[in-house]
Amino acid sequence: MNHSSLDIAEDLLLVPAGMGDSDLQSVLGQLMSHQIDYADLYFQSSQHESWMLENGIVKEGSFNIEQGVGVRAVSGEKTGFAYSDEIILPALTQAASTARVIARSGQQGGVKAWSNSSSHHLYLASNPIQTFSADDKVALLQAVDAEARRQDSRVSQVMASLAGVYEVILIAATDGTLAADIRPLVRMSVTVIAEQDGRREQGSSGGGGRYSFDYFQQQERSLDYAREAVRQALVNLEAVDAPAGAMPVVLGPGWPGVLLHEAVGHGLEGDFNRKGSSVFSGRLGQQVASPLCTVVDEGSIADRRGSLNIDDEGTPTGQTVLIEKGILKTYLQDKLNARLMNMPLTGNGRRESYAHLPMPRMTNTYMQSGEHDPEEIIASVDKGIYAVNFGGGQVDITSGKFVFSTSEAYLIEKGKITRPVRGATLIGNGPEVMQKISLVGNDMALDTGVGVCGKEGQSVPVGVGQPSLLIDELTVGGTG
């Protein structure tokens, strides 16, 4: 690839409007002349395609194409924001004049010359939608349906979807940032319902990342999703009521890392900590988790769903150690909060689209492996639960209370996994629960690439991961 991302982005986003770097400089200059500390322009073009199978046929497909530019002006703690879904100079100028209403005071600043920082090449810079014909996409879904039904005659419904996104972004900012990124993203989801003696249970699976669609064909991944969804539904057909009360909980590797996302991740986002609204505010350097815990946010892992070459403010992503051996090391930052807190940028300024403001968000958040064999961890529990799959979670970052809901879990009795239990919500207090992690496995795994994180109404793709681990006590919300 000789053509840089920036060239591709300029060709796609600026050239059709007859705009060039100098126009960006002049719009930014116009913003800065109104006593703004910082301003940026975020150009975005996206294509989204999805296909949906149900009742054995691909019955729906949709295609969406969108582009626009967001203009942000920052003065102290104040932000003015406007956007346009037309990328033309007059619309850009109008959005800029709207965004700068915020500025009545602030320091005089100038626009810095563009500085080229080198960025990663973590994933393909191509459009996944075009890498596969429609026939192939339909065939992929049909194969999933057939595989799921082939697994077991109790499978009564199979729903599968395939989605591809191709996004090109370009950021120009008064601090000299001029950067672009080309972001492919694919995802497949499979949900099945199995029925036995009038009882119906559901199982779901899926995966994806910043790949082209052939990812799903490799190593029979799409067929594995089908098998996994069926396996879960069949397990749930046998599930008994989950217990109720505080007890030891063993979490499996991978997706159960939702724990970290909710229990610590959100609470370590810079905006909440600047405002002092997080249970982790003012606790840098303190022990906030057991010494077995090292938790990392890493946007720079190749091909992952939560990865980005640069964040949505043009800052290269990297690896940020949030908690090291239980000690709180730093917060996740965007430019606004890093500047106000006088802390380093971490490459976590993200936004759903040009029509949304950036804020500190997670990328791929995971816990590093420990020393224990997963079998040993389960064997150490006399009575508790072993949870391997989850729906989603939620956190109140101020009180620290968080929940996450199991979709596949088992009883542990006398060190052995016995019966599956119905879905139950687990609830705890982030810093307290993290202190109660007493064993950490040597089997760290990242999830398969299905996570969506919501914050203040904005959704962004994320990843989670963790090794198997034991929490000595967590409240399990069953009925038994």
Binding site: W51, E54, I57, V58, K59, E60, G61, S62, F63, N64, I65, E66, Q67, G68, E77, K78, T79, G80, Y83, D85, E86, V101, I102, K137, S156, M159, I193, E195, R199, R200, E201, Q202, A244, G245, A246, K275, S277, V279, A355, L357, G391, G392, Q394, D396, T398, S399, K401, F402, V403, S405, G423, A424, T425, I427, G428, T475, V476, G477, G478, T479
Partner: protein, 452 residues
């Protein structure tokens, strides 16, 4: 057939006739490309929101969005596409993309437009567009007052997540190749505040908000601030509970969530996929005989009101639950055909679903419960509509002898929705009007509460 709503909305980027022309153009292009039928929706929305924190402006955010979507049918094969670009070339590309997709989807016997006989022939004027002339400066001032009124309530209110004012208006036109075109303007304004209280090592936050189509019907800003403050302070010194089985009251705003689960369980898409715990439940008691619910799509200025649904089908008032018995499902045309039924005008969702109160105040409900939990917040996604398994995190208050004793947190509530619905003992008259699902508090039978 139907006429565009008479009331011409002003102050929009596009007049409604322009949006209507785009719809007609899309439909013409689709049939020109060989589609046997087609439908299109075009919308434009504008407004802004301000947030204020600790008396200072935090953000002023302007919104201007537009979009168009088209669905084409080649026989029973379907394809959809959408864009935010209204340029003729973009519209052409979008219609072509929908047609391209329809070449690859399978023929589905249930697909297609709504039946012509169901389409709305009159469009009632529901007064959904009630613009607010507030300037950003005035909005900032309102938000400042709201937050200030909150802070004044108690010294333990040490921090804030801010107060906001938001005002948005939009227009939408839907049309299909059966000759239906209809459109209307609507507005939505809201005001809210989230405060943080601290005492010792504990921090708690809570919020309150008001939302209405008419700015004059928004709750007083100071009252919103004070309610946010009171709710926040009341959460301090929260305790955990021991695991127990006790009766529970879901406060009105939380009870809306239970209505939401019911709506999902009796909605067409869930039913034809056999993904509901309430399959084949029409005509069966799902609540005690004193519970009834009705849908009121034509309430003037109602937040869930709509003259027609998202496929042009006329909306009609109806009873959903009468004497505890389910009277019908919530259907669009597609799901209705799947189930061998008629659409209920619910493409896009329900329109103002009301639960009738059994007359008691929240205080009466507390007395009636005597000992148990008042739930004021639930957390997480632990609701399985396929099985009805319910397990969610919760906050609230412990109640003894009909009186609130102390706040509780870090507990879960678990049960089976089917049993929870049948165990509803009373519906309060403390109705929460904010939104599409309208109810007072629900007094429920015993549930499992898990704690320490």
């Amino acid at each position: 057939m139907a006429e565009i709503s008479k009331k011409e909305a002003s102050g929009f980027d596009y007049d409604i006739g322009y949006l209507q022309n785009i719809v007609h153009d899309i439909l013409k292009q689709a049939t020109g490309l060989g589609a046997s039928s087609a439908e299109a929706a075009v919308s434009s929305l504008g407004g802004y929101s301000v947030t204020v924190r600790k008396g200072e402006v935090e953000t002023i955010e302007y919104n201007r969005d537009k979009g168009l979507g088209v669905t084409v049918y080649f026989g029973q094969r379907k394809g959809s596409a959408s864009t935010t670009d209204f340029k003729p070339s973009a519209i052409k590309t979008t219609v072509q993309a929908a047609c391209d997709i329809a070449r690859y989807t399978s023929s589905d016997e249930f697909s297609g437009l709504a039946d012509a006989s169901c389409l709305a022939t009159e469009i009632p004027e529901l007064e959904l567009y009630q613009p607010w002339s507030v300037t950003p400066e005035q909005a900032v001032e309102l938000a400042v007052q709201c937050e200030q009124a909150g802070f004044a309530v108690d010294k333990r209110l040490t921090n804030s997540e801010g107060a906001y004012v938001s005002t948005h208006s939009g227009q939408r036109v839907y049309g299909n190749s059966l000759g239906f075109t209809g459109g209307y303007a609507s507005s939505r304004h809201s005001l809210g505040c989230t405060l943080i209280a601290s005492a010792n090592d504990e921090m708690q936050r809570d919020h309150w908000y008001s939302m209405s189509r008419h700015p004059g019907r928004l709750e007083d800003v100071q009252s919103i601030g004070r309610k946010a403050a009171e709710r926040t302070v009341q959460r301090l010194n929260a305790r955990k509970l021991s695991t127990c089985k006790v009766p529970v009251i879901f406060s009105a705003d939380v009870a809306k969530g239970l209505m939401g689960h019911l709506v999902r369980a009796v909605s067409g898409g869930t039913l034809y996929r056999e993904a509901s715990f309430l399959l084949d439940s029409i005509g069966k008691p799902i609540f005690a005989d004193f519970i009834s619910m009705d849908e009121r799509p034509h309430i003037l200025q109602g937040l869930g009101s709509a003259p027609f649904d998202s496929e042009g089908v006329s909306t009609k008032p109806r009873n959903l639950v009468e004497g505890g018995v389910l009277q019908g499902y919530i259907l669009d045309s597609y799901a209705a055909r799947h189930l061998g039924m008629q659409t209920t005008g619910n493409a896009g969702g329900v329109h103002n679903l009301h639960v009738n109160s059994t007359g008691q105040s929240l205080n009466d409900l507390l007395k009636q419960m005597d000992r148990g939990l008042l739930i004021t917040e639930v957390m997480g996604q632990g609701v399985n509509i396929v099985t009805g398994d319910y397990s969610r995190g919760a906050n609230g208050f412990w109640v003894e002898q009909g009186e609130i004793q102390y706040p509780v947190e870090e507990i879960t509530l678990a049960g089976k929705l089917e049993e929870m619905f049948r165990g509803v003992q009373a519906i309060g008259n403390d109705v929460d009007q904010r939104g599409n699902l309208v109810t007072g508090s629900w007094l429920m039978d015993v549930m499992t509460v898990a704690g320490s």
